[in-house]
């Protein structure tokens, strides 16, 4: 299974969702967006090395990290040398070896989003309940539709907790706009602390609400893809 996590714009918490979902799905997370660049990791090949053909995709998977990670390339030179069209085959090779892949794709509409979307069996859109985030996400949703990648879930991220009525109507409105079920993830200091430390929240606080929510989200996504 290859699941692509994307967003219409940055800053909505896409990488945190990708990282924690990969932990729950026992998947390799492919960092296509520099989002996990500051996670501690051993030296070794990265995505640029894979996309320039210097390393096989499986060689670039770091299993010693809390979540198995294929790290992003970090140099401008590497970014220019990389062949973006090689991503699709590379991700499929990782899936063949490990079973499940979560791609942390950049936000937006360029080919660095289009190619991860094409590689995915389904995608998940992270949005925040703000007009710019949703407007941009709608464009990305149209891109996914044009490429033919189904939208499995919309994650409405870092929500406050106003009255339940308001939540329901907002969730329904977003679900009908995007044509996909919506999962709300409340803001969580535990989750933010875990992410800053480079851990999935289930490793530091397995019973906290955020861990439970990611567990549920993962099972829902698995169910919709099977």
């Amino acid at each position: 299974m290859i699941l692509t996590i994307t967003a219409g714009k940055g800053g909505v918490g896409k990488t945190t969702v990708a990282y924690n979902l990969a932990a729950e799905l026992d998947a390799v997370v492919v960092d296509g967006d520099l989002g996990m660049a500051d996670l501690p990791q051993a030296r070794g090949p990265d995505l640029h090395d894979v996309l320039t053909g210097r390393a096989a995709p499986v060689e670039a998977v770091h299993e010693e990290c809390p979540v198995a990670l294929l790290p992003c390339g970090r140099s401008l030179a590497g970014a220019r040398a990389a062949d973006p069209t090689a991503l699709v085959e590379a991700v499929r090779a990782v899936e063949d070896a490990y079973g499940s892949v979560v791609i942390d794709s950049p936000a937006g509409l360029c080919s660095d989003v289009g190619l991860p979307l094409f590689a995915g069996d389904a995608c998940l859109l992270v949005v925040r309940p703000t007009r710019p985030a949703i407007a941009d996400a709608i464009r990305t949703r149209e891109l996914a539709r044009a490429i033919g990648t189904p939208l499995a879930q919309v994650v409405l991220n870092r929500v406050d907790t106003p009255s339940l009525d308001a939540q329901d109507s907002r969730r329904d409105s977003i679900a009908s706009t995007f044509g996909a079920p919506v999962t709300e993830l409340p803001d969580s200091e535990t989750l933010a602390r875990a992410q800053r430390a480079g851990h999935p929240v289930r490793a530091v606080a397995p019973e906290c609400p955020a861990s439970t929510q990611f567990r549920t989200l993962a099972r829902t996504v698995e169910g919709s893809l099977s």
């Binding site: 030179a77 699709v88 080919s111 891109l143």
Partner: protein, 266 residues
């Protein structure tokens, strides 16, 4: 420009629906071909290059749509024209291109990536990059390496950063240049391999006729002399590269940053 006749049927008759004019030049061992197709009616045409291999023009690093190996398929609008340009390391031949098929258009042809989804994964990923745009940093964001000595080849001359051969100067785009401080050696190695192949063909001729044909393929006896000089330069450059690589490998194996210690100190 050399006009060639219109499409030839198998029985030798010609139908002047589409006409192909061409021009061919050679610079620094690279042959550049321009084809100019005109037609009274809107048609889909196929053009075959008699030069092999073809270095097609590239858009955002991938060959522009229509090129497959030595063949190009494109659309000539009614009473309009289609320009086809490409380069090749092979020597010029005449004619360099031929019109090998034409089909009158029935309906509007478009090349969105939605339609390329039926063409298979490779075509779709290329179409995605073409239509959505490449996301890499611009060429001038990547710093130039400091040059070491004048006799080593300059990596600024390696034009292509993908693993394929350098593309020609014609067409809409020449593609991406190599990154400056992480030079892509594949175009340079590819050019050397091509010269080795040419030298092998020249050295395995069995008789005078074959020799003359082989010399013509390269572009004349002067081109053969140039090839010989270039091969000598290739030997020198590869030897220098090998020595430098060994020195760097030795230096690298003896160095290790004490990261854990340094992290504790800050």
């Amino acid at each position: 420009m050399h006009p060639s006749s219109g499409f030839k049927y198998q029985d030798g008759t010609t139908d002047p629906m589409a006409a192909l004019d061409w021009a061919v030049t050679q610079t620094d061992g690279v042959t550049f071909v321009e084809g100019y197709v005109t037609s009274d009616i809107g048609e889909q045409v196929r053009i075959e290059s008699n030069l092999d291999p073809v270095w097609p023009p590239r858009s955002r690093g991938v060959p522009v749509a229509g090129w497959e190996g030595t063949q190009f398929e494109g659309t000539v609008p009614a009473e309009g024209y289609l320009v086809v340009g490409y380069a090749s390391p092979a020597g010029p031949v005449e004619p360099p291109v031929e019109l090998t098929a034409e089909t009158p258009l029935v309906e509007e042809d478009s090349c969105s990536f939605e339609q390329s989804l039926e063409g298979g994964d490779n075509e779709t990923v290329r179409a995605l990059v073409r239509s959505l745009g490449e996301a890499g940093p611009p060429r001038d964001a990547v710093p130039l390496p400091t040059s070491v000595d004048d006799s080593t080849p300059s990596f600024e001359n390696c034009e292509d950063q993908t693993q394929e051969r350098p593309q020609g100067e014609t067409g809409t785009q020449t593609g991406n240049s190599s990154s400056r401080n992480q030079p892509d050696l594949d175009p340079w190695f590819g050019a050397i391999e091509d010269r080795i192949g040419t030298a092998q063909r020249l050295s395995t001729v069995a008789d005078a006729d074959q020799a003359r044909a082989a010399i013509d393929d390269v572009g004349g006896i002067e081109a053969v002399r140039t090839l010989q000089a270039q091969l000598a330069a290739d030997r020198r450059h590869l030897h220098q590269l090998t020595e430098r690589t060994e020195t760097l490998r030795t230096d690298l194996s003896g160095v290790d940053v004490p990261l854990a210690t340094l992290e504790r100190l800050i």
